[in-house]
Structures are given as structure tokens and as C-alpha cells.
């Protein structure tokens, strides 16, 4: 991601961290002294960290959702294969923790999908598979966007951390030079 101009920009609400070419002119331009500048940068870093936590939580949720949709697709595919053979699908399922029961699922054309918010809707097998695939694609696409957001965010955090170190070092260097000048 090499770009020639370090112009800051923002991404979906996350402010970009501007890259400092030269510490001296940065401080002169902002009109802040070293301590205020460091305080401002530290606060920015904290804000970035808060956003990072939020994005990581969203990422975990999506990562849990995807295998769930996969399982639903598995079942729908299995029922589709059984359809037309006249055989019933016999399965053992969990009634409650530790208690299992047996069920016969006869040749069927439809399944019910849980849509959330206490709503369950009946779909034909084909419609169900299509809906589940669409949900899976959407979840995967959201995950990609989220990953890109996190990358951008972490880059801004790194830039901010480096700027903090450079401002601090510049200050130390200034003090040292003044000290040396006083002593000669």
C-alpha cells in the first residue's frame, strides 16, 4: 500500500492520523508545546483503542455466525439429496442437554428458517438454500470490510505511536543541545 502522498483521510468514521514530516515544523504549526502535543496524541491513541475493541467484537460475532450458516446449508443440502429417493432421513437430535431423541424426516419440499426476533418462516428447499447462501455471502463480505477497517485503524495507531516517540525524542534532543550550549 505504498502511496507517495501521506495526506490523512478518514475511513467510515475513523479519522486518519496525519504523518509528521518534521517534528519542529509540526509543533510550530500546531502552536502546541511538547507536553500538550503529547497529551493530544495520547488521547487520540486511546480513542483508536476504543474503536479497535468495538471492531474486534463485531469481528468475533461475524466469525461465529459463518459456521452456523454453513451448518444450515449442510442440512438443507442433505434434505435436497434425500428428496425424491422416497427414503426418510432418520436422525438423532438433542432434546435437552444430555437427552437425545430420534426423528424421521419424511420426503419434504420445505423447511422452516429461523429469521430471528422470534420469527420462523417456511421456505421451499430451493428458496431456503438461496436465502442461506445469500446470508453467507453477505456475512463473508461484511467480514472482509471489517478486516480492512481494522487494518486501516491499526495503521493509524502505529502512525500515532511513532509520532509520539518522535516528538518525545525531539524534545529530549532539544534539552540535551540546550544543556550542551549552556555548558560551553
Amino acid at each position: 500500500m505504498a502511496s507517495s502522498s501521506p495526506a490523512p483521510y478518514e475511513r467510515r468514521g475513523i479519522p486518519g492520523a496525519s504523518f509528521v514530516e518534521d517534528v519542529q515544523s509540526y509543533l510550530a504549526h500546531s502552536g502546541l508545546d511538547v507536553n500538550s502535543s503529547l497529551a493530544f496524541l495520547q488521547e487520540r491513541l486511546q480513542q483508536y483503542k476504543i474503536v479497535e475493541m468495538k471492531l474486534l467484537a463485531q469481528q468475533r460475532d461475524l466469525q461465529a455466525k459463518i459456521p452456523d450458516i454453513g451448518k444450515c446449508l449442510d442440512i438443507a443440502a442433505t434434505l435436497q439429496v434425500k428428496k425424491g429417493t422416497g427414503e426418510a432421513l432418520v436422525a438423532d437430535f438433542e432434546v435437552s442437554e444430555g437427552i437425545y431423541s430420534r426423528t424421521r424426516i419424511e420426503d419434504t419440499n420445505s423447511v422452516c428458517l429461523w429469521l430471528g426476533a422470534n420469527v420462523m418462516l417456511e421456505y421451499s428447499l430451493e428458496e431456503a438454500e438461496a436465502l442461506l447462501r445469500k446470508n453467507l455471502d453477505n456475512a463473508k463480505a461484511s467480514l472482509e470490510v471489517l478486516a480492512a477497517d481494522l487494518q486501516f485503524l491499526r495503521d493509524q495507531m502505529t502512525i500515532t505511536q511513532v509520532t509520539i516517540a518522535r516528538v518525545y525524542n525531539w524534545d529530549v534532543h532539544q534539552r540535551r543541545s540546550k544543556q550542551v550550549a549552556l555548558e560551553t
Binding site: 514530516e21 518534521d22 432418520v90 436422525a91 438433542e94 437425545y100 502505529t158 516517540a165 525531539w170 529530549v172
Partner: protein, 126 residues
């Protein structure tokens, strides 16, 4: 980046981009370690399942699909398991290749960054 002794090595935008890239690669490296661990466990489970299948001589096997255990004829289960093992192996290989690529990119960046900044930068795992 550790707060140094006040040296005046200038940090250019290119340096900053290299540092950013190193950070991103490092994150990806840790994610990959987790993913590889999970993939190896999945492979082991499939191995165990295959072995159990060989040992048992039932004709109807309870195979987990989603949250239920469907009764399936033995041959179907065998072929499903084979396919799952193939997919799992491919996935593990893919992850390990990505990991190697990430590791070598990180090594290259370390050379560049330590070359310019020497002691002023710390790129090691703490």
C-alpha cells in the same frame, strides 16, 4: 517503538509505511498461528473419526450434520469423511504457505528497518 535517547534519525513516510506494513504482517502472523492450530485439531478429529469408523462394524452410522446426528449408510459416511479430510488438508497447506510468506516478508522488513534505525526501533515480540 521505544522512546529512545533523543537521536535525530529522520522518519520518512516510506519508513512509516514500512513500520505499518510490519505491524499488519505481525497481526496476520498471530491470526495465522491460531488458524493453523484450529486446522490441525480439525485434521486430528477427522483422523480419529476415520479410525473409529474402521473399528466399528455397524452398517448404519450416526454422522453429524449441523446439530443433529443423521443415520447414514457406512459407505456414504466413508466418502464424506474422505472428502472432508481432503478439504482439511488443503486448507492446512494453504495456511502454512501463507504463514511462510508472512514470516519471510517480516524478516525482509526487519533488515530494512533495523538497518536504518538500529537501536531506536524494537521489532521483537515482547
Amino acid at each position: 517503538m521505544q522512546q529512545g535517547s533523543g537521536s535525530e534519525t529522520e522518519v520518512t513516510w516510506e519508513d512509516q509505511q514500512n513500520i505499518n506494513k510490519f505491524g499488519r504482517l505481525n497481526n496476520r502472523f498471530h491470526e495465522l498461528e491460531e488458524e493453523i492450530k484450529a486446522a490441525k485439531e480439525a485434521n486430528e478429529s477427522l483422523e480419529d473419526a476415520g479410525n473409529e469408523l474402521i473399528l466399528s462394524d455397524e452398517d448404519v452410522v450416526r454422522f453429524q450434520i449441523g446439530e443433529v446426528f443423521a443415520h447414514m449408510p457406512r459407505e456414504d459416511v466413508e466418502s464424506r469423511l474422505e472428502k472432508m479430510k481432503e478439504d482439511a488438508d488443503k486448507e492446512l497447506e494453504r495456511l502454512q504457505e501463507e504463514r511462510e510468506s508472512v514470516v519471510s516478508q517480516m524478516a525482509a522488513l526487519k533488515k530494512i528497518l533495523y538497518g536504518k534505525f538500529k537501536d531506536s526501533i524494537n521489532l521483537e515480540e515482547d
